[in-house]
Amino acid sequence: MRLAFLISLVQIVGLQIHAQKPVSQNWWKGSEATSFVSLNAGLNANSADFSNRFLSELIFSDQLSQEVLNDELKGLSQTENVMGLDYELALQGGWNIKSGAHTLLFKAADVAHVNASVPKNAARLILTGNKSFAGDTLDFSGLNGLGMRFQQLAVGWQFQPTPSTAFFALIGFVNGEQYADAKVDRSWLYTSVLGDTLSTSLKGGLFISDTGNVGFATHNGAGASLDFGFHTEFQGEGSIWQFDFAVNNLGLVQWNKKTIGYNFDTNYTWTGIEIPDITNINEQFADNVLTDSLGGGVNENIRKQTRNEWLPGYVAAELLQRRDAGFETGGGWVLRWNANFDPYVYLKNGYRFNEHIATHLSVGYGGYGTVQVGLSGIFEWSHFMAKAEVRNIEALALPGRFAGGSGIINLSYMF
């Protein structure tokens, strides 16, 4: 009810926003090609399966209360509970050549992406222990996650043949700083009724970039990325419809040969330390090296290797009405790869107060969540443009139901 009220309220106000779109912005700066510099900064974290209440208590408090824990477990999906985080800090610019249609582009960015999918049974095992599964086999297959941080240096070109159309493309060098990728395809745990036997089966892989070489911009891999897209406009009745299409971070990183790789496919049964001689139990406990054959099995398969990983990029399209003043509407969609990201579609509505100021509200569905709401404001002058967005308002309003918190700021200076 609160959610519906909030959506209705914002729609009535007519704000137009972006939500659940990745941090990066496109390159369109107006009907006249111009030189510019801009600063993009954003953080986008979201999950429809976990809640802000749970995550904030988990991260910031001393004790996770049983009530919050139980509520969280009730709300989880049986097979997949996704969360994602994107961060980007980018300095972008364009040099318009001889005040013509061609603009050289550059971009320097620090990017991080994390996503994880946790089956409900895995969360139950982690959060409550195995006792409640005594006599049962707990299948928690499907646990996976990806984390990556990289820096980009890209150069490109934008061609604006008409005032309402522009094409752009950038090719970039990617420095792979840090990387972790885990996939557990098969995992189950059997706990006997009396607890005297634990059996588990694991199949999957884990890859981690050089753990001895960490820090900002350290070099653990290299790759390339390609961004391209276009902007065009259609004339409508009393308004212009602007259409933007962009492909961002199409590329990959080859993480270097110091990347640690584990592949495991093992079954293991643990019945406790075997004490062959009860009359000498103290020494046997002391002497017993608690080597875990599961760990041993994993260790046998540890290797160092190069590994290629696609960048978690996206393709996005947006159609947005532009008026001199008044209500504006539009919508778009976002697809991402290698990001555990469901297709995201959204509607945007907003109000343009004048040619300089507009606000937008978006309501979308998909991505790392379900229903998502965001709010943005745009301030445009001839030499200066600022955009600010607050995303995942639904998680702020209903912290027990949604998780997320995002903010983006974009400052541009045109000359």
């Binding site: 988990l58 406790g272 009359t279 103290n282």
Partner: protein, 504 residues
């Protein structure tokens, strides 16, 4: 990152307790029907040559003082002594011996200004036809000490005439060393001293008449077969015990076992044997000399059998003895010198009493208390130690008992002065024994679960604990004796059932 509490069920340890594990491997075996037998072979008595016919250490001191001044040429003996030494062996009259070990030390002192050649011989000792003879040069105004052995020499102990016994013949001679070129003028009072010591004579073989001697032995033999079984008492219903008296001495014997007793020195319990052998003289004929050094003696053995019908030996075993005590009276040659001086004894061929015990573990026990105290050290949970995160819970001891024995167990925590601190169990736990079928075989194990509460309070007590005392009251299942088999056992599994914090 916040803490949260999880309920975990984790196996800690497992194993099998088998009665066979408590005894040395050589003392336990399973028969064709897997029935466990406790066996022991103990030599209660072993009397050898050294006990019956020991040749004593002896020493001969000889001094010679020149009475008058006299001129003597080199190479001509100025002192000569042939001497018979008779050992005091009481009734024993040895005529011949072969020496296995011995040590002879000769000390010579020369007080004149010329080197002297001493010759020392034992006429009675020969090796391959050669007499034992030592020549030694002692420098002017000097002393000399030398050591020899008689190992392997044959001693003729019949004296110079060949008609005596226990007698050796030695000779000693001294002269100015023949290498000297001038005569020596002895002055009255010049002195020579010779000391000859023979020690540690161990014969390989002796012959003669060993006399009619009677010796009372009080033997005390430790027994370790029961040491690992911490029961206090149990009813043994079947046993097979033999006592073999083995005579390896070439002399007739009369043996009287005055008393045979077992004792548990820990509990103080003891029992004396009732059997026809007690206080009854047993005559043992002499061993036979085969005159073959590789297998020289045919022993004469007599075996005594003990059963529950002719003895109370089960009482001696049930008290878990750690020693056997025997008072034996052995009389050698009770009929006199019927061998005409041809008694003999070889090294390693003794008079022995050898007990062999085989106890099938068919037992009954009612209210038998088993106590075992062991050292214990608990390392208290430290920061970052997983134990420090336990809120509460229990250690569940899951027992699959295939023995037909019930046990009521409790574990006590004792401090360094053996003061009781606490007990692990709130009340003694009953571990049920399995039922035997009519063939005395356990078909199905009986499961019991003993819950041991754990938590910070217990950890505090464990930290003060120096000893763990396990106390169990054992009762065999049913009214009859039960069978302990080597394919039985108590399988135990220790499982931690705990509520724990994810972080300290």
């Amino acid at each position: 990152m916040a803490n949260w509490d999880v309920d975990a069920l984790v196996p800690v340890a497992h194993g099998t307790i088998n009665f066979a594990d408590f005894a040395p491997e050589e003392n336990v075996y399973g028969d064709g029907e897997s029935l466990l037998h406790l066996t022991a072979a103990e030599t209660l008595i072993s009397l050898g040559l050294d006990t019956l016919i020991g040749i004593p250490d002896y020493s001969i001191d000889t001094g010679f003082v020149v009475p008058i001044s006299i001129n003597f040429p080199p190479g001509v003996p100025f002192f000569y002594q042939l001497e018979e030494t008779k050992f005091d062996l009481k009734d024993v009259e040895l005529t011949r011996a072969l020496i296995r070990e011995s040590r002879i030390t000769i000390f010579l002192e020369n007080t004149i200004d010329k080197p002297v050649l001493f010759e020392y011989g034992i006429y009675s000792a020969t090796l391959d036809g050669d007499t034992f003879l030592v020549q030694a040069r002692v420098e002017a105004n000097d002393t000399l000490s030398r050591s020899f052995t008689l190992d392997g020499y044959e001693l003729d102990l019949r004296g110079e005439e060949g008609t005596d016994f226990n007698t050796i013949v030695t000779f000693l001679q001294a002269m100015i060393h023949p290498d000297e070129t001038q005569n020596h003028q002895f002055t009255a009072g010049d002195e020579f001293n010779i000391k000859n010591t023979v020690k540690g004579v161990v014969p390989e073989f002796v012959t003669g008449y060993f006399g009619n001697q009677s010796v009372l032995f009080e033997e005390d033999e430790a027994l370790d077969v029961f040491a690992q079984f911490p029961y206090q008492s149990v009813n043994i219903t079947d046993f097979h015990v033999t006592l073999t008296i083995d005579n390896g001495i070439g002399a007739d014997l009369k043996l009287n076992i005055q008393e045979l007793r077992s004792e548990n020195t820990v509990t103080g319990a003891n029992a004396a044997l009732n059997h026809e052998v007690i206080n009854n003289n047993q005559l043992y004929p002499r061993a036979i000399n085969l005159y073959d050094l590789t297998d020289p003696v045919k022993h004469i053995q007599k075996k005594l059998t003990f059963s529950d019908e002719n003895s109370n030996l089960d009482e001696l075993l049930e008290l878990r003895p750690d020693r056997f005590l025997a008072n034996l009276d052995i009389e050698v040659n009770p009929l006199g010198d019927i061998s005409l001086g041809n008694d003999f004894a070889y090294y390693g061929h003794n008079i022995s009493a050898f007990m062999q015990m085989d106890v099938p573990l068919v037992v009954s026990a009612k209210g038998v208390v088993l106590n075992d105290t062991s050292d214990f050290q608990f390392i208290a949970p430290q920061p970052n130690n997983p134990l420090d995160r336990i809120n509460y819970g229990s250690l569940n001891l899951i027992l699959e008992n295939r023995y037909p024995i019930d046990a009521e167990i409790q574990v006590y925590l004792l401090d360094t002065f053996n003061n009781l601190l606490d007990s692990l169990l709130e009340s003694p736990a009953l571990v049920l024994g399995a039922e035997e079928n009519n063939l005395g075989i356990v078909e199905f194990a009986e499961q019991s679960i003993v819950e041991i509460p754990i938590g910070p309070a217990l950890f505090d007590q464990l930290e003060l604990t120096n000893y763990l005392k396990i106390s169990a009251v054992l009762n065999t299942v049913g009214v009859d004796s039960v069978h302990l088999r080597n394919n039985s056992g108590i399988e135990y599994k220790l499982v931690a059932d705990i509520n724990a914090r994810t972080k300290k």
